[in-house]
């Protein structure tokens, strides 16, 4: 490996691609070469650096300086001032408060390498201790021990339902002598959620290592990563990571002579929110419509082609390498007793710096908004937050100190969900957002069961009437009773979800709805 004086990370996410990233990239390399600095300074193309709306951005190591909104014209100045004179270019500097590594806190688990190593180079992942957990798992641990370690860590699923991963694995691990499958659910579709995309773009090998260990633990010899079709960069980077892992003998036949085989295949989704539901996802992997299946039997017993299948979210599995390497006890030193570890939250809406952060579970909503989201945009007043995406719950300013963990949110009638936090200021209309939430469910209902298909249509008719000033007394009560009936009778979580946002919206913001009724 060659050593450089500086590592320069250029953000290569979609927003920067659109700002002529490629021209800037090649111009920077050209300017560095002109000054004979290309031997000392290494330029790397990265995934998103963890913040948005800042054009082409650049992070320089080891000094951890971040420049944003860079244009081609800025390059000579950056090269001259920063790399030759060692002075910062203040006018391009990102403010301290919105630096991702302030955001990222001291100890990230899942995102520890994102934005630091080259996601497309397995050697860089190996250099930071990558695949050591897989080596430890395969050489020193029995599959049962791995399952026990994950169960002891109380690693709860990070996709929304929060079911402990170790318990789920155990159902499948104990079944012997049959073909088993492991599936990564990367069909990220909950509105306001893009954490899995950033894990896959920023550190695909971490997910892969977690998946390999998990497959070994439950005895699955074939694994699938089901990625939504829109995530082109994730698909490309994961495919590259799989190819590299195979080349290094980390997957394949008789891995390290231990008699364990594993193949990993990417499956691409085609745009259906319901495929985030694990049985619908399994149907889709089989090449069918993504209609959910009846449970039980659960996928852990009968999944893909009726064979035992474990389905876990991307973020859940990205925690596995650290848990195996450092142990359950270490993992439990973060977060709360009921919900150990960290969680990636996406903070959106009317905050100064929309983006994501990985924090300890149990961090307060206020801290996440103020310290990581940079506070309310333009100093406006906080009004509401929709937590957990469309399948989430509205909270008001009385709940700002709620701890973001399963237990405390539950006490406030809320859920953690996928970790999306949509913040609304005093000018936002809850009626409008409610309309958007219901429109979403109406579109995404798969149509298999009547309560969800018809219920969402009825809810949509009602909320449209209300929003456009044609609502009548009794309409709000109708919405509650319809959504309650859907909760009791729908086939899967999709139809059971609208009740949460509807009831919470009415609980905290009812006058706003009543004002627009006739």
């Amino acid at each position: 490996m060659k050593f450089y004086r500086n590592q320069v990370l250029l953000s290569i996410d979609n927003p920067s691609l659109q700002e002529n990233y490629l021209i800037i990239d090649s111009f920077l390399r050209q300017e560095l070469a002109k000054q004979n600095l290309d031997d000392e300074i290494n330029v790397l193309d990265k995934g998103s650096l963890g913040f948005a709306g800042t054009g082409v951005s650049m992070m320089i190591y080891p000094e951890q300086v971040t420049y944003i909104n860079i244009t081609k014209a800025d390059i000579p100045e950056i090269v001259r001032e920063h790399f030759i004179k060692g002075l910062q270019v203040n006018r391009l500097l990102m403010e301290e408060a919105i630096k991702p590594f302030k955001r990222a806190e001291k100890r990230r688990i899942v995102l520890e390498n994102s934005g630091i190593i080259d996601p497309e180079n397995i050697d860089e992942y190996l250099a930071v201790g990558g695949y050591e957990a897989w080596e430890k798992a395969l050489m020193e641990m029995e599959p049962t021990q791995i399952v026990d370690e994950v169960r002891d860590a109380v690693l709860r699923g990070r996709g929304g339902a929060g079911f402990p991963a170790g318990v789920k694995w155990n159902f499948t691990e104990i079944l012997k002598g049959i073909q088993k499958y492991f599936v990564i659910n990367a069909d990220e579709g909950e509105p306001g959620t893009f954490k899995d995309r950033l894990i896959m773009e920023g550190d695909p090998h971490k997910l892969l290592e977690g998946l390999i260990i998990a497959s070994y633990a439950v005895g699955a010899t074939k694994a699938f990563i089901y990625i939504r079709g829109e995530y082109k960069l994730c698909i490309a980077r994961l495919q590259k990571a799989i190819d590299q892992a195979r080349e290094y003998g980390l997957i394949g036949k008789n891995i390290f002579g231990k008699g364990f085989d594993l193949e990993i295949e990417i499956k691409i989704g085609a745009g259906a929110y319901v495929c985030g539901e694990e049985t619908a996802l399994i149907e889709s992997i089989e090449g069918k419509r993504g209609n959910p299946r009846f449970k039980p039997p659960f996928p852990g017993v009968k999944g893909i082609w009726q064979k035992p299948t474990v389905v876990n979210n991307v973020e859940t599995i990205a925690n596995i390498p650290s848990i195996i390497k450092k142990g359950a006890k270490w993992f439990k030193s973060f977060g709360t007793d009921d919900c150990p570890g960290s969680k990636i939250f996406t903070i959106l809406g009317d905050v100064t710096n929309p983006g994501l952060c990985e924090v300890d579970l149990g961090t307060s909503l206020r801290t996440v908004i103020n310290e990581y989201g940079g506070g309310m945009k333009d100093g406006k007043k906080f009004k509401a937050a929709l937590i957990g995406g469309a399948a989430g719950v509205f909270l008001n300013e009385e709940h700002l100190d709620v701890a973001l963990c399963r237990k405390n949110l539950h006490e406030h009638g809320a859920v953690l969900g996928s970790g999306a936090i949509l913040v609304m200021n005093e000018e936002a209309s809850i009626v409008d957002i409610m309309y958007s939430v219901i429109k979403f469910f109406r579109h995404e209902s798969c149509g298999k069961c009547s309560p969800c298909r018809l219920g969402n249509e009825q809810l949509y008719q009602l909320i449209s009437k209300i929003r456009f000033g044609k609502g009548k007394a009794g309409d709000l009560e109708k919405m509650v009773s319809i959504s309650e009936a859907m909760q009791k009778t729908s086939f899967c979580a999709l139809g059971q979800s609208p009740v949460m946002s509807i009831k919470s919206a009415f609980k905290y913001f009812k006058p706003e709805f009543e004002r627009v009724l006739n």
Binding site: F194, A270, A272, P354, L422
Partner: protein, 152 residues
């Protein structure tokens, strides 16, 4: 249809969605025709109605011919809060079509979509595989103009 597409896949039912993606991506009008469905049915030995039901289920698939550029504007809550309805109005005005329609010159198809997972830059849209974020009226005009400029 291009038989090369079928050579990339084993005739197994689990490959249906990948095959449909490939067919659609390779069609100049970005859609899956009735003829293509029949050919897929012959290849996989499954009934055409079953394939049609898969095509109609997934929102990325279209059974209608579409324009050269497919605009997919997000209307989920984070983009909605940031004014995606106004952006929709603007797009409809510039293109002279409603959501779900294609311009007469077959250049643009305008669609609405659920969350695209780029919410930090709301409101956002995708045009084919490219993402455009932090949209406002000016940006919309610039984007459409630059696409048309590159064309003519």
């Amino acid at each position: 249809m291009d038989q090369e597409i079928f050579q990339k896949f084993l005739p197994e039912k689990e490959n249906l969605i990948s095959i449909l993606h490939t067919i659609q991506d390779n069609h100049p009008e970005h859609y899956i025709s009735k003829e293509a469905i029949k050919e897929v049915g012959d290849f996989l030995k499954i009934p055409v109605n079953q394939i049609q039901s898969v095509v109609s289920f997934y929102s990325m698939f279209s059974s209608k011919p579409r324009g050269k550029y497919i605009i997919r504007l997000c209307e989920s809550p984070p983009c909605f809060l940031k004014g995606s309805e106004k952006i929709l109005e603007k797009l409809q005005k510039i293109l002279g079509i409603e959501a779900g329609e294609t311009t007469k010159d077959k250049m643009f198809t305008l669609e609405l979509t659920s969350c695209l997972g780029i919410c930090g830059n709301a409101p956002v849209m995708m045009i084919n595989d490219d993402v455009y974020g932090d949209l406002n009226d000016e940006k919309i005009e610039k984007i459409i103009k630059s696409i048309l400029g590159g064309q003519r």
